[in-house]
């Protein structure tokens, strides 16, 4: 036991010296991720690692496997380790006060990624998230700009009933096209955010509207449903992208392939790069101890055939979508 104690003490002393002599300019950031339950989540993790590497940030990654207790443990671990900042993608909205207060005591700034929490605002530095209403509005605006003044009947594939992206993406789109007199949403049903449901519902839309001849455009709340619907349009003997315009949201690799093939027209990206703006905020905070905005909204960028869809597909396919 004595020998062990000596080894232990010895290693503490040696490592203490070693770490003291290391340069301190490289930022160390701990990232507590929810898990890897969806393709987008996996892409977010991959992009965060890339961003960290690009900026010379030493990223400590902890996957919580969908459990809040694991996230709290990871944050405490990061604090004990003395990281310079913490990124948190919270699994639930409640129960963060104590651990965030501990981080604040230790003067470690915390940035929230893609989901909000029920905690006093002074417990975190900033929150990065997308604006789902704006995503729907950008998709709507693309349609308005492209249809011009001719009449256009739109069918809409909604996300899971009651989910916040489904509600917000519908609102943004409806408000935008509702302002025109020539574009009308003639049918709207849930496709549950899945490819197979998207195909099924589109088949019924086509049947109900004169074999699809009365449909001018499809708006899907996510790319997966659009990809399913494209198949249904092809099966009905119509040309997706020409006979029926296709616009959707997310920016997954498969939709870029469809755009490259001329089978889809536009997608609004839900960027997996939440960490980029977070690192920007942290760097700014490190320099002058303030943040410009508490709530950082990511860009909802529109991609069409003129935005090199092939290149976009190549860049995304390895991210884990």
């Amino acid at each position: 036991m004595n020998v062990l104690k000596h080894i232990l003490l010895g290693s503490v002393v040696i490592c203490g010296f070693a770490s003291a002599t290391l340069a301190q300019d490289k930022m160390t950031v701990g990232f507590s991720q929810v898990g890897s339950e969806s393709g987008w989540r996996a892409a977010e993790t991959a992009v965060t690692r890339q961003e960290a590497e690009k900026r010379g940030v030493d990223l400590k990654f902890a996957d919580a496997q969908q459990k809040q207790e694991n996230q709290i443990k990871a944050i405490r671990g990061f604090i004990a380790q003395g990281v310079d900042a913490i990124l948190l993608a919270p699994v639930v909205a409640t129960g963060w006060n104590d651990v965030l207060a501990e981080a604040k005591d230790a003067e470690i700034p915390v940035v929230l990624l893609d989901r909000g929490i029920d905690a006093p605002e002074d417990l975190y530095l900033a929150a990065v998230a997308s604006d789902q209403v704006k995503e729907g509005a950008v998709a709507g605006k693309w349609l308005v700009d492209n249809v011009g003044s001719k009449a256009c009947n739109v069918v809409e594939l909604e996300g899971t009933v009651g989910s916040s992206p489904a509600i917000n993406r519908k609102k943004g789109f409806d408000d935008t096209v509702g302002a025109t007199s020539n574009i009308k949403v003639i049918a709207s049903q849930t496709g549950d955010f899945t490819r197979s449901k998207g195909k099924e519902v589109m088949e019924s839309f086509i049947k109900a509207h004169n074999g699809g001849k009365d449909i001018c455009a499809l708006y899907a709340h996510n790319d997966d449903m659009a990809v399913g619907a494209i198949q249904a349009i092809k099966d009905a003997g119509l040309k997706p992208g020409t006979d029926i315009l296709v616009v959707s949201i997310d920016g997954v690799p498969d939709i870029f392939q469809a755009i490259a093939n001329g089978e889809a027209n536009a997608t609004v990206e839900l960027t997996p790069n939440m960490a980029g703006p977070a690192f920007d905020a942290l760097e700014a905070y490190k320099k002058d101890k303030t943040v410009a905005q508490k709530s950082i909204v990511t860009e909802s960028k529109l991609f069409t055939a003129s935005d090199d869809p092939k290149g976009q597909y190549e860049a995304r396919k390895g991210l884990g979508y």
Partner: protein, 334 residues
């Protein structure tokens, strides 16, 4: 050294060596912060592991504890947030309910002669199902009492904190140690696990002891649920999924014989700390997948199962040499 002590010694050595290696690689792991976190972050696991140690010592298993933790959390959240019940009254209710639930399972195991595995499996589904029926979402608990308790902590030099829930766990281990190794109830538990038939012949009250063991385990699961709700300030029906298995792993790694009759409460403490150490190491490293926790725990379990078999052989050989044995001290009397 008595062969009985081998597993404990092995666990302790593994912990100390592993910790030394961790500190060698990450000097910051040698800090009061990390030590304080070990207690706070593993409080719910440690408390429930004490109850599980009693169950395993008696030769049984309790699969219901994770669900009881979740149910307790949800019950507390509903009582406190929706019905404005004072937390202390809610705690009393929850603990009483948990203990009664455990006693019921114990009675079924004894009187109906059903394996504990089956009865507690039913208990696990029942408690998890009941929690999910009460609510599907995470219910926040915003009571003054909660914020007071969670903000109370003793600051150690170096920034570490001794939290209330960490201290509750330590207290449970102290009481558990006394109960197991210094009381009549404790010796009954060891006797039941050693050999139920000879325990009966020796006059051990099997029915009462069995019921008490499972009541204790569920009571501690309820206490662990309280600690968990303090830890997250919320009740969530999907909380603590799989904790029963982490707990069993901690008990076995802590040197308690899975077939019952031999072990130490303090070994379980070290078993819990080993799990905490692995998780902390993974966070400090920051590049390893968190699933390595499971891989290392799995590997350790294999090692300890082999060690236990060796121990059984060794003690059998010993028994032949020295027939004068004490019930309760032998690892396994086949």
């Amino acid at each position: 050294m008595s062969p009985r002590l081998w597993p404990l010694a092995a666990t302790l050595s593994i912990f100390l060596i592993a910790y030394a290696v961790c500190v060698w690689q990450f000097p910051n792991m040698w800090s009061t912060r990390v030590l304080g976190n070990f207690l706070t972050d593993n409080a719910f696991l440690g408390i429930v592991a004490v109850g599980m140690t009693f169950v395993i010592l008696s030769g049984g298993i309790d699969l219901s504890v994770g669900s009881v933790i979740a149910f307790t959390g949800v019950l507390l959240a509903i009582l406190i947030t929706r019905y404005n019940v004072h937390p202390l009254i809610a705690f009393t209710l929850a603990l009483a309910l948990a203990a009664a639930f455990g006693a019921l399972m114990g009675a079924m195991i004894h009187y109906m002669n059903v394996p504990s595995f089956i009865v507690t499996l039913a208990g696990m589904f029942l408690a998890r199902g009941a929690a999910s029926v009460l609510t599907r979402d995470s219910i926040p608990i915003n009571h003054e009492f909660y914020s007071t308790v969670t903000s109370l902590s003793y600051r150690l030099p170096g920034g570490g904190r001794l939290s209330v829930i960490g201290l509750i766990m330590v207290a449970v281990f102290v009481v558990g140690t006394i109960l197991a190794h210094r009381t009549r109830f404790g010796s009954y538990v060891f006797a039941l696990g050693g050999n139920a038939t000879s325990a009966n012949l020796l006059g051990v009250p099997a029915a009462r002891t069995t019921i008490l063991i499972y009541a204790l385990s569920s009571f501690l699961a309820g206490l662990s649920g309280i600690v968990f709700s303090l830890y997250t300030s919320a009740g969530y029906p999907l909380a603590a999924v799989g904790v029963e298995l982490d707990t069993i792993a901690a008990v076995v790694i802590g040197g308690t014989l899975l077939s019952g009759g031999s072990g130490f409460i303090i070994g379980t403490f070290v078993g819990v700390m080993i799990q905490g150490l692995i998780q902390t190491y993974i966070v400090f490293d920051g590049t390893l997948s968190s699933w390595w926790t499971k891989i290392v725990i799995g590997g350790l379990l294999f090692v300890f199962i082999v060690l236990q078999r060796l121990l059984v052989y060794a003690s059998k050989r010993r028994w032949r040499k020295t027939p004068a044995i004490q019930i309760g001290n032998m690892p396994e009397v086949a």
